[in-house]
Structure formats: structure tokens, C-alpha cells
Symmetry: C2
Subunit: 153 residues, 2 copies
């Protein structure tokens, strides 16, 4: 995808609970610069190098390239600060794919839900377990969380 | 290649002259951080995303991934400062491959020759047109030149 359009919400964990065991994601940042984020992600048996541009509204340029896991492991060691670890759960709701990220380690306690849109003004039906929208709040960007973990807020 | 071992020299342009028309290289930087350089390079009809680690002696980790040229063009616009432009000439000398970079635009006047080694202590025969060795001088790193062009030295 070249343009990522995404809305992000906090999750009420009294109302949401995981339906499966999720997938572990570990990701680090070679650049946390808001205008040119460079992310290394290992997700199970696959790894990706992703570049994200400046967020404009709820859109940003995103380029993703699959890379060998062993190379991603080396790149991960070259990253800023500590990697972000989270379990990702995927749910189809009202025809939309929601990704619920349950953060671990220094970001434990944070649960975010994201949904990708095909247009900024696309109407979506919100599940009952989302609360505050945080799409534009940079503190909830994973790059920010890698340097300012939730435990320190 | 996972480890790049390289020596770099200034070139006496009274003694060296190009034998062909060379290849234009345009490259920009998503990160100029010395410990995690992220470079976007367009070289003719091909493009690459390259990550380089901290230089230790004359060695550094290097990971390179080929990417579509149209995506590289978008990434180039997201880069720091201005792209570095140079003509690259390749010569085989005493069994070694030398790359001679003739810089353009704001780095015009600078000509560097690089040779890749298979070990740090590998013996090489220097061509008569190289002068001072600048392998360890960060000012001659292309990432540095992208922010501090030769014309401003």
C-alpha cells in the first residue's frame, strides 16, 4: 500500500476480550523522525522493513518490503531504544478488519484498536468496546512508544 | 553483503580521467544517524534501500534491498536535505574493483575512490591517482555530504 488511512481507538478491556491467542509482533525503529519513520518488524516467521511518511489528517505514505527474518534480527539490534512488543488480534466487524494490539513489557496496560480505511471520510460502525479516538495523538504512535513507553506516562 | 569493508581515498584528477561515461547515482537519506543510516539510491533503472550500521574501523554492517524505482522516487522526496548526485566509474585494477565517484551539484569538485575488501587487513596495490586516505573521515561519508555539501566546507 502506498497511502495508509487509519483510525485508532483506545479499547475498554472490560468489554473486549481475545478470541484466540493472537500473533506476537516485535518492532524497532531505525528512524523515529515523524516525517520519515523507518520500522523493522518481526511477525511470527516473517519480517518487514517499513517506511512511513508524515501523517496528514489520518493518512500517511507507507512503503513496506519483506526481508529475511535473520537480517531483521540484526537490524533490530541497530534500532533506537527498546523494541515494542505486542500481541495482535484480528477481528472482522461489520465488514471491516480491526486489529487489536495488546502491548507488553514497558507498554503493558495499553490496548489499541486500529482500522484501515479506503478513504478518509469512509463511514465505519464502531464496536462497543472502543472508547476514545486517538488517531491524531502522536503519543499512541508506536515509534513514540518505543522511546516513551506507556509505563513512564 | 552483511559486512562492508571499504577503503576510501581522494583522487588526483590530474592523473585520473574517466574511460567511459559512467553511471548516474542519486541518493537520499531517511536517516543520517551514524549508527543507523538509511539510504535510498536510484542508479539508472534500478533502486535500492540500504541500511548501514556504525563504522568500526573500516567495517560496517550493510543490508541492501532492491525496491521499485517509482517507490524510490517517492521515498527520495521524504529524505533529509538534498539528494547526493554523482557519476560512478568502475575500474578493475590489480584484480580489485575500484569505484570512482565524481560528485555533482553542491558536492561538485569532490572525487572519491572506494575499494571493497574481503578482510580489514587485505593488502591492496594503490593506483597512482589516489592521494590521501579518508576511510575513517566522517566528512566524506555520503550521508554527511547530504547535509554538509562540499561547496560549503
Amino acid at each position: 500500500m502506498m497511502i495508509e488511512i487509519e483510525r485508532k481507538f483506545l479499547v475498554d478491556t472490560n468489554l473486549w476480550c481475545p478470541k484466540d491467542s493472537g500473533n506476537l509482533i516485535v518492532q524497532g525503529y531505525l528512524s523515529t523522525d515523524k516525517e520519515r519513520v523507518v520500522r523493522v518488524r518481526i511477525k511470527g516467521e516473517r519480517a518487514f522493513l517499513t517506511i512511513k511518511g508524515k501523517t496528514q489528517g489520518i493518512s500517511r505514505i507507507e512503503m513496506e518490503y519483506e526481508i529475511p527474518v535473520n537480517e531483521a534480527e540484526i537490524l533490530m539490534q541497530m534500532c533506537h531504544d527498546f523494541p515494542v512488543r505486542k500481541k495482535r488480534f484480528v477481528e472482522e466487524i461489520h465488514g471491516m478488519t480491526w486489529e487489536i494490539d495488546v502491548f507488553e513489557h514497558k507498554n503493558a496496560g495499553l490496548v489499541l484498536a486500529e482500522v484501515e480505511l479506503s478513504a478518509e471520510n469512509e463511514k465505519i460502525e464502531l464496536p462497543n468496546w472502543v472508547t476514545q479516538e486517538v488517531s491524531a495523538d502522536y503519543r499512541y504512535f508506536n515509534a513514540w512508544l518505543s522511546e516513551h513507553p506507556y509505563a513512564t506516562w
